[in-house]
C-alpha cells in the first residue's frame, strides 16, 4: 500500500471544482472532470442492537459516572468522606487510568457473535464477529467495550445525538472526501481519494435534511494535518480504499479533538447525490480516551451513562493491534463507524477563495488560504 500526503491537489480538480466548470461530464452531473466530492453529515460508532437488547446486553446497559460514584462511596454506611478521598480521588482515576481491576465496579461488555464492521486483517479469528448480513471475520473489538454503553446505543443515545448536533453546529469537524481520476461511479479500478478538513457549514433544507450540491472550502491553513491521499477502487457502486493511518477531526462539545486511526479505510455505497457506509480501522486507545475525557464532560458522560475508567480497562483488554515497542502491549483496538455523506463541490484554489470573499462583508472575510 502506498500512502502519501499532499499539499497540492490535482490541477484538473482545481479547475473543475473551483470554477464549477464541467469538463468531461455532463453539465448537470456532479461528477465533473473525473472529480466528485462529498461532505460528511453523519457519523455513529457502529453498534449492532438486537430488538430487545438482550442478545448483546443480557445484563442491561452499564452504570454511568453517578451510579459508579455511589457504588464507590456509598452514603448509607454512616461514613463521612473527605473531598480528597472521593471527588478528587475519582477525578484523578479518570485522568490517570490504569488496567488495575475495579473490584467494586461491574462493567458489562457486549456479548454475542454479531457486530457491524469490516474485516480489517483479512482473517477470521476466534474473537471476530459476523456481520448482520453474514460476513465473517468482522474486526470490531470496540463493540465489546461500547456496545452496552447507553451513550452510543440507538436510536437516541446522547453521544449519538450530540455528535450529529455538533456536526451541524460547528465547522471544526467538517470532513471532506474527494474522488479524482473517476471514469465511472459504478466501476473504476483506480481512483484517488483525498481527505480534507473543510471550513464551511453544512447546508440543510427547511426540514433539516442535508442538501447535496453545496460548496465547501478546504482548510489549508489549520487543516493540513488532516489531508491524506489514498488509493481506492469502485466496484458495483461501492468505494473501498486501501488502508492508511489517518487522523480526522472529531465533533465534540469542547475543544478541538481529533482521532487517530491506524489502517483506516472506508466502504461506501456511492451515488451522485450521496455516499453511505462504513469506515473502520484500529483506533489509538490513548488518543480516544484523551479526546473523550477532555471534550466530553462528566455531565455529558452522565447523560449517556458512560463509565470512562471501566471502558479504558476494557479497551486495553480487547486491544489487538500495534503493540508498544517497549511494553509489548497493544495500543490500538479495532473499531467501525457508520457514516453518511452528501455530494459537495470542494473548492481548492485561491481564485475561488477570492471570489467568495469578495461577496462577503469585509468583517466576515475568512482567513487567507495558506497554500
Amino acid at each position: 500500500m502506498q500512502l502519501y500526503r499532499t499539499m497540492k491537489p490535482a490541477l484538473a480538480s482545481l479547475l473543475g471544482c473551483a470554477l464549477g466548470v464541467a469538463t468531461a461530464q455532463a453539465a448537470d452531473s456532479p461528477l465533473r472532470g473525473g472529480t466528485i466530492g462529498y461532505v460528511l453529515t453523519a457519523k455513529n460508532v457502529a453498534i449492532w442492537q438486537s430488538p430487545d437488547g438482550k442478545v448483546e446486553c443480557p445484563e442491561g446497559v452499564n452504570d454511568g459516572p453517578r451510579e459508579q460514584f455511589k457504588t464507590l462511596y456509598p452514603m448509607d454506611a454512616g461514613v463521612r468522606y473527605k473531598f480528597v478521598e472521593t471527588q478528587l480521588e475519582r477525578e484523578g482515576q479518570i485522568w490517570n487510568p490504569t488496567t488495575e481491576p475495579e473490584p467494586k465496579l461491574h462493567f458489562k461488555e457486549a456479548q454475542g457473535t454479531t457486530a457491524i464492521g469490516m474485516n480489517l486483517d483479512g482473517k477470521t479469528g476466534p474473537r471476530d464477529f459476523t456481520s448482520p448480513d453474514g460476513e465473517p471475520g468482522i474486526d470490531n473489538q470496540m463493540y465489546r467495550v461500547l456496545g452496552c454503553v447507553d451513550n452510543y446505543r440507538g436510536p437516541d443515545g446522547s453521544y449519538r445525538h450530540f455528535i450529529q448536533d455538533y456536526m451541524r453546529k460547528f465547522n471544526y469537524n467538517r470532513f471532506l472526501v474527494e474522488l479524482t481520476n473517476v471514469d465511472d461511479l459504478t466501476n473504476d479500478e483506480d481512483v484517488a481519494v483525498t481527505l480534507y478538513r473543510g471550513k464551511d457549514p453544512l447546508i440543510v433544507d427547511t426540514l433539516g435534511a442535508y442538501t447535496p450540491g453545496s460548496t465547501h472550502r478546504i482548510d489549508f491553513r489549520w487543516g493540513k494535518s488532516f489531508i491524506y491521499q489514498l488509493r481506492g477502487k469502485i466496484k458495483d457502486g461501492v468505494l473501498t480504499t486501501e488502508p492508511a493511518d489517518v487522523t480526522f477531526p472529531e465533533s465534540q462539545a469542547r475543544g478541538v479533538p481529533y482521532l487517530s486511526v491506524r489502517a483506516w479505510r472506508v466502504k461506501l455505497k456511492l451515488t451522485p447525490e450521496n455516499a453511505e457506509g462504513l469506515m473502520a480501522g484500529y483506533t489509538d486507545i490513548e488518543r480516544y480516551y484523551n479526546s473523550l475525557g477532555q471534550n466530553w464532560s462528566t455531565h455529558h458522560r452522565s447523560y449517556g451513562a458512560e463509565p470512562m475508567t471501566s471502558e479504558y480497562r476494557s479497551m486495553r483488554k480487547n486491544a489487538e493491534g500495534y503493540p508498544d515497542p517497549t511494553t509489548g502491549e497493544n495500543t490500538a483496538i479495532s473499531m467501525a463507524w457508520e457514516i453518511k455523506f452528501v455530494q459537495a463541490y470542494i473548492l481548492h484554489e485561491e481564485r475561488g477563495e477570492q471570489a467568495i470573499s469578495s461577496l462577503r462583508d469585509a468583517s466576515q472575510r475568512p482567513e487567507a488560504v495558506g497554500e
Binding site: 446497559v61 447507553d150 446522547s158 445525538h161 448536533d165 451541524r168 457549514p201 433539516g208 452522565s302
Partner: protein, 443 residues
C-alpha cells in the same frame, strides 16, 4: 335623552381629582340569551398560555386516533375530564434556522415566531404581549404571568427582546398584587376611588409634562428612549384611569382568602400545590376582569421538578435514564410528564368550573399550551405537541386531536392570534413565518 350604552360613564370631581364612574352591567346591555351584549358585541374573550417542560414520551402520548373522540394514551390519561374542552395538536415543527439552544429554541419559536440567535434572549415580544396590546388595554393589568416553580427566573413572556415580564412566583405576593389595597371589587355596592391611585395619577401627569419638556431638549436617540419610557407611563395612566372607573359587576368574581405560601422546593407535589394556588388566583383575576391576558408556567423549559425517592430531577432524568426496552420509553421521565398533564387538566378545569353567562369562563377563553421539545433526550424540535383549551367565545371547536403533519409550530400561535381578532397577514420569520391558519378548529 342620549341612548344608554355600556360605555356610558358618570364624570365628576372628587377631592380635587377627576373621577369617572361606569354603569353596572345592566340586563338592558345584554341580548336575550345573556351571552353577549345587546348590540351583538360578544362577552370578552380572554387569551392565555400554559407552558410545560420537556415534551412527551411519544409512544404513550400521541393518540392513535385523530379528530373528535380520540384515545388518551397513558401519559394523557389525566386529561380524561377535559378532553372535550381542549384540542391536542401533534407533529408540529419548530425550525432552527441555523441556530439552536437546547431547551430554549423550541418554545420560543412557538411564542415569538422566530428562532432565537442568542441563548436565553427572546428575538421579539411573545405572542401573549401581541394579544395583550390589542385586548389588554382596558383592564387593570395588561397581562399577568405566574409560575408554579417558585422561581422568578421562569420567564415565559417578553415585552420585547430585552424586557422579560417577570412572573409572579409567590402565591401570597400574587394575592396581594391582585386583591390588595388597589383592588376594586366589581360587585361591591359602593365605589370609592382610591386616593392613593389618584395621587399616583396626579404625580404621573406632572412627570408626563416634564417628559414633554425634556423631549424638546434632547437628540433623536434620547427622544426615542423617552418615547419608549413615555409609552410605558401612558399604560400606567390607562391603568389608573381604569381604577378610577367603577368596574362592571362580575357575577363570577369571588375574592379568595389570602393564601399562605407553600414551602419552597421543586418536589412534584409542591409544584402541583403551588400551581393549584396560582391557578385559582389567576382564574379569579380573569373572572374579576383584572386582566384578559395571562400566562402560567407549570415548570421552566428545562424542568427541574423532582420525584420523592428518585435522585434525579426531571431534566437530568430525560438525559440519563435509559429507555426501558419493554415499555419503549423512560419510566421516570414519563412520571414527571404525567404530573405535568395532571396540572394542565387542573388548569383547564379551574377555568371551566366558573360559570359565566350561559356557559363557563373557559368558554370565553383561548389558552395555548406548549413545550420546548418533543423528545427531551435528543432535544428534538420535530413532532412537537401542543394544546389549546376553551372555545374563544364560540369561535373555535374543541375535543379534537389534530395531526399537523410536520407543519410549522407557529401556525398554532398564528391561528390563536387570528381567532383573537388580530388583523395580521402573517407571523414569524424565516422558516417559521406562516400565514396559514389551522382551519380544522375554526367554528
Amino acid at each position: 335623552m342620549t341612548k344608554l350604552t355600556r360605555r356610558r360613564v358618570l364624570r365628576g370631581i372628587l377631592q380635587g381629582g377627576a373621577v369617572s364612574v361606569g354603569l353596572p352591567l345592566l340586563n338592558c346591555f345584554l341580548n336575550d340569551n345573556g351571552n353577549a351584549y345587546a348590540d351583538g358585541t360578544p362577552l370578552p374573550v380572554r387569551y392565555g398560555t400554559w407552558l410545560w417542560g420537556l415534551g412527551m414520551s411519544k409512544n404513550v402520548f400521541v393518540p392513535k386516533k385523530t379528530g373528535p373522540g380520540y384515545d388518551l394514551p397513558e401519559e394523557l390519561v389525566a386529561l380524561k375530564n377535559v378532553r372535550d374542552q381542549i384540542n391536542l395538536y401533534t407533529n408540529l415543527t419548530a425550525f432552527r434556522d441555523g441556530a439552536f439552544f437546547c431547551h430554549f429554541t423550541g418554545w420560543m419559536v412557538f411564542r415569538s415566531g422566530t428562532s432565537p440567535t442568542v441563548a436565553n434572549q427572546a428575538p421579539s415580544e411573545t405572542l401573549d404581549v401581541i394579544v395583550a396590546n390589542q385586548i389588554g388595554r382596558t383592564t387593570r393589568f395588561k397581562n399577568l404571568t405566574a409560575t408554579a416553580t417558585g422561581d422568578v427566573r421562569t420567564v415565559v413572556s417578553y415585552e420585547n427582546a430585552n424586557t422579560p415580564n417577570s412572573p409572579e412566583f409567590s402565591p401570597l405576593n400574587f394575592y396581594r398584587r391582585l386583591f390588595g389595597p388597589d383592588f376594586q371589587d366589581p360587585n361591591a355596592p359602593t365605589f370609592s376611588p382610591s386616593p392613593l391611585i389618584m395621587a399616583r395619577k396626579s404625580a404621573l401627569s406632572a412627570v408626563n409634562e416634564q417628559i414633554k419638556g425634556l423631549e424638546r431638549q434632547v437628540g433623536a436617540e434620547d427622544r426615542q428612549r423617552l418615547d419608549q419610557y413615555f409609552t410605558g407611563l401612558r399604560h400606567l395612566e390607562q391603568q389608573f384611569d381604569h381604577q378610577l372607573t367603577k368596574p362592571e359587576p362580575r357575577a363570577a368574581c369571588v375574592v379568595p382568602k389570602e393564601p399562605e405560601d407553600p414551602k419552597l422546593g421543586n418536589e412534584a407535589s409542591l409544584v402541583a400545590e403551588r400551581h393549584k394556588m396560582m391557578t385559582d388566583l389567576l382564574v379569579m383575576a380573569v373572572a374579576c376582569d383584572q386582566t384578559r391576558v395571562f400566562n402560567m408556567a407549570y415548570s421552566n423549559a428545562q424542568a427541574n421538578t423532582t420525584k420523592p425517592g428518585y435522585e434525579k430531577p426531571h431534566h437530568t432524568t430525560t438525559h440519563e435514564e435509559p429507555t426501558d426496552a419493554q415499555l419503549g420509553y423512560q419510566p421516570n421521565a414519563s412520571w414527571f410528564l404525567r404530573r405535568s398533564m395532571e396540572s394542565w387538566a387542573y388548569f383547564v378545569e379551574a377555568f371551566n368550573s366558573v360559570k359565566e353567562g350561559d356557559g363557563t369562563l373557559l368558554d370565553n377563553c383561548l389558552i395555548m399550551a406548549n413545550t420546548d421539545v418533543a423528545n427531551a433526550r435528543i432535544h428534538s424540535l420535530e413532532e412537537m405537541p401542543a394544546f389549546t383549551a376553551g372555545r374563544a367565545g364560540g369561535r373555535i371547536k374543541t375535543g379534537m386531536h389534530i395531526d399537523c403533519k410536520g407543519a410549522q409550530g407557529t401556525q398554532l400561535g398564528f391561528t390563536t392570534m387570528k381567532v383573537m381578532g388580530l388583523d395580521i397577514p402573517s407571523w414569524g420569520t424565516k422558516s417559521n413565518q406562516t400565514s396559514k391558519v389551522i382551519s380544522e378548529i375554526l367554528a
